[in-house]
Subunit: 310 residues, 4 copies
């Protein structure tokens, strides 16, 4: 990834390890932007390559339009050009996606991460998804990254469709959260080295990098940013033995903040390591005490401890 001073040129290939940061709420359910800025300032001083605002882990689907704008502005300001900033700008309609993408660009985002529209997905064929991404990429002042999150959307874009979308010069990469290795390999084989492929979870960051992925957007990066960054550095340095050991170590804590307990688990983990977690937004329910203990126990067993904040 070519970048300096937070400036990302058109056509830049996204890469490195980024955390899709949590959005923080106060006890009354309202946005807590002070907590948000505090977390982001700390990430900006970690070994992460960047952050993603308004990702799935950021509960983007539960935010109002005005809250999204406030979150983008607070996040970009807090990072202050020290790291790459991607913003999740995907919405159900092409029109709303374009509008939010433009706002994110105006606020200084480096990349737009555009989740697949999904409510009417049984109606959306190859042509519909291609037209959607082309329209967004045409209108976007910043490079666009396809975001496939089948666990939440039910939509898995076929590698052939990804390759067709990738022909647009302003579509520069994909984040795939599925973990299916043959699919990752096929996307890389079809799209070539000028297209960034980002693993969507720390649970398969190492094998994805082996296959040629350029990085990852990993929820565990919220909790253990340096370990996640190390996993990429070890792999790029050719230390496969150490990378493999680290990858296996990250499996259980990663599950605790993603597939097992989701955003509520992520927030418990943030509090556990000394960052700002707080409650998730409804209909997300806070974890019960037993599950919260399980999250904390899992972090301890993986030797993921408190961070030195401040």
């Amino acid at each position: 990834m070519e970048r300096s001073n937070g400036q990302v040129a058109m056509g830049t290939i996204p890469g490195g390890v980024l955390a899709p940061v949590a959005t923080t709420f106060a006890a009354d359910g309202e946005l807590d932007l002070d907590a948000f800025r505090a977390n982001l300032d700390w990430y900006a001083r970690s070994r992460l390559d960047g952050v993603v605002l308004l990702g799935s882990n950021g509960e983007f689907a539960l935010l109002d339009p005005a809250e999204k704008e406030a979150t983008i502005e607070a996040g970009i300001e807090a990072v202050g050009g020290r790291k790459t900033v991607m913003v999740g700008t995907g919405a159900e309609s092409t029109r709303a996606t374009i509008a939010l993408t433009r706002r994110a660009a105006a606020a200084g985002a480096d990349f737009a991460l555009v989740v697949t529209p999904h409510y009417y997905s049984p109606r959306y064929d190859h042509a519909a998804y291609l037209a959607h991404y082309e329209a967004v990429a045409d209108a976007s002042p910043i490079p666009v990254i396809i975001y496939v999150m089948a666990a939440y959307t039910g939509v898995d874009l076929a590698p052939a469709l990804v390759a067709d979308i990738a022909r647009h010069p302003n579509v520069v990469g994909i984040k795939d959260s599925g973990g299916n290795a043959p699919r990752v390999a096929e996307v890389i084989a079809r799209c070539g080295p000028d297209f960034g492929v980002l693993a969507g979870s720390a649970s398969f960051l190492y094998p994805a990098l082996c296959l040629g992925a350029t990085g990852g957007i990993v929820a565990l990066g919220n909790i253990a940013p340096d370990l996640c960054a190390d996993l990429q550095h070890l792999t790029l340095a050719g230390d496969h033995a150490a990378a493999r050991v680290l990858q296996l170590r990250l499996i259980a804590p990663n599950a605790a903040v993603t597939s097992r307990f989701g955003v509520p688990g992520l927030k418990v983990a943030l509090d556990a390591v000394g960052l700002r977690g707080g409650p998730p937004r409804l209909p997300h329910q806070p974890l019960g005490e037993r599950d919260a203990d399980e999250v904390r126990r899992t972090l301890r067993e993986a030797e993921i401890g408190a961070v030195a904040v401040g």
Copy 2:
């Protein structure tokens, strides 16, 4: 369903045949509220019992908040108290659902139809859905109807969960679009006669009514409102032979405007019968000519012709 002059009391059981009306767009993609009002005025003079604004067929997921408000106001005004008006007010967050429900109530809606939140559905258990619906029902000035639309949301609420939600006095019914007869029967058996069960498609309106459903919200009601209303009247009158023949006749045209061609098919069909269809909103793609011909042919074969508008 007890109602008069468009007034629906708290605790009222929803019933009858309603059309989940299409939202209309101009060629430039903007809302076309004149077309919308024209369609609604015509439905208000049909044998339908009511309409649903901002349902799945109304492309609610593709509308901005301001467009939703404008659509609600235009629709309620056009109906003018002649029919029951339900409004789809479900959003991903509990908070946004409550806000839109209150706006719909203030505008004069009779019922709020609240689709299951779904983006984080792997995270939402029995307790989360129960808490969501209870919070909405507590806050809603108008009766709430659960809306299960598994084809688009991937969420099928278990009948035991529906029964738990139904204990709230302001939750008065369910629309289930799945067509699974044992599920419909189990909901009816568990929830009893004071809970309205609405078939979510004309494709199973007759068997659902046989089981004790109180009505249906059926996309085909946009195109053939009187035939759909007749199906309920024949069944309630005990003319099962005629109801069965009519039900079988409606299978193919219903599929054309729902499972086969979706909202784009519905819009072709609206134009075909003389109402206002127009383009769907992106990422929906307009039907190609071959598929559009197939929609029109299917309507002709079912002897569904032009309506006398005006």
Copy 3:
């Protein structure tokens, strides 16, 4: 259904209410044909129209070829021409299906119930399923019934494919266990009155009959044969009010012996009503005591009691 003395002519439309009987095993896991004959003799004196040997409830997939033959012979002998006898003869290969169908015919079966092949189902398209059923129907001395059991096979034949298969003169009907009312209606609309449609569960027998189904093959018929037969008689007699009440009453006990507890639940229920249940075959595990109590409690609540055997 035209039949007398157990003779079923080619082209006969299957109908009425049949029980897919349990196969009985001794404590050592071997076939217990005495218990099997005792159950069948009792069914032959009930108001059922027939029985199905080697259905899913008969654990056909867990029987060796020699056991299948012994079961067919014992079953047909025990029924002694008093009822229609269908035999599940479907296997994964076309060749094995034909072989077992011929053996069942030679033993005196009235119909062959042929489950969709499924192991390689991602490879089987419209042409493959059509060729399979045509080859079996060509080779079968007895009429063939398509058996769709998506919960166990993952295969749902499209109604258009069913209609193509149904053109073969020796394919006379379908058993569909899915309960999807629009699908049942579409099959009836496409295949016409000369094709038998059998509901695959007591949970939707009444609405299926309303739509024009000719009967049902229902696991609950093992436990409450006369109630299941009554449901069809009430419907055919036009007493929809009573049929509806009975249908709702059967939902919970039906679930106890099908979707909730499966064959192990069915066997507990058989023992509970005084017929011969015994253990299921491994890998089926016998129900634990708590689940077994739940089955018995559910039967009592639906007022399904002991039968007068002998």
Copy 4:
């Protein structure tokens, strides 16, 4: 993998690259064991570590019991101790699985590969699968390997269940065909280095090996055995750059003989490279000419050519 002269000790960890060989049929649909022996003799002289008889690619589900025995005997004889021989011995019942496992052991098989029972899978919980595998492992004279093939069975064993089964001393490994990298990593993390993990497809052999898998059972090994063996050798030798290039090269031809065209594609490919393919068994349909051309074109593009047989 410790082995010599085809002898595999209890507790041996399975590893290396094996081909799940096709079963060959003559034009009349009967087994063609001469063709089968010819293919196996050729594989025995390749760089493969072994073969699997009666796997999914061997159409085991379409073979009669007597044909299975003949295939096992012919295959083991043709290999003649030159390579490891695994045999697919899984059946739906525990009893039939044990019987076939014993026959395979008596015939000289090195390992039994036991697919998950699946017909009644909605009924099989953790306890049922654990009991099944323990009973088979207790009774088996040879080491047992769990076989997860979700694309055909719909069954994905949770890593925690795999770890519980793996505690049995006679269960020595797993073949997982799903390609889900986090799942592979979790099984390795939970089961430790004394448990063999075999990738079930050439499409993810390299990343699986990176994670610590011990080898693979890969359909493409039927067509390009030396390339598949090379992929493991390159990885174990630490030549990740070359391994990565080879992995990407194998994606398209692997799909042609697995997910895209299945066993019919595999048979076209066998004929294309000069081995014995012939027709698949019904309900498998032979590929049409256009698809067959596509298979051959894909092989050519990956530079997979004719083998020197004889």
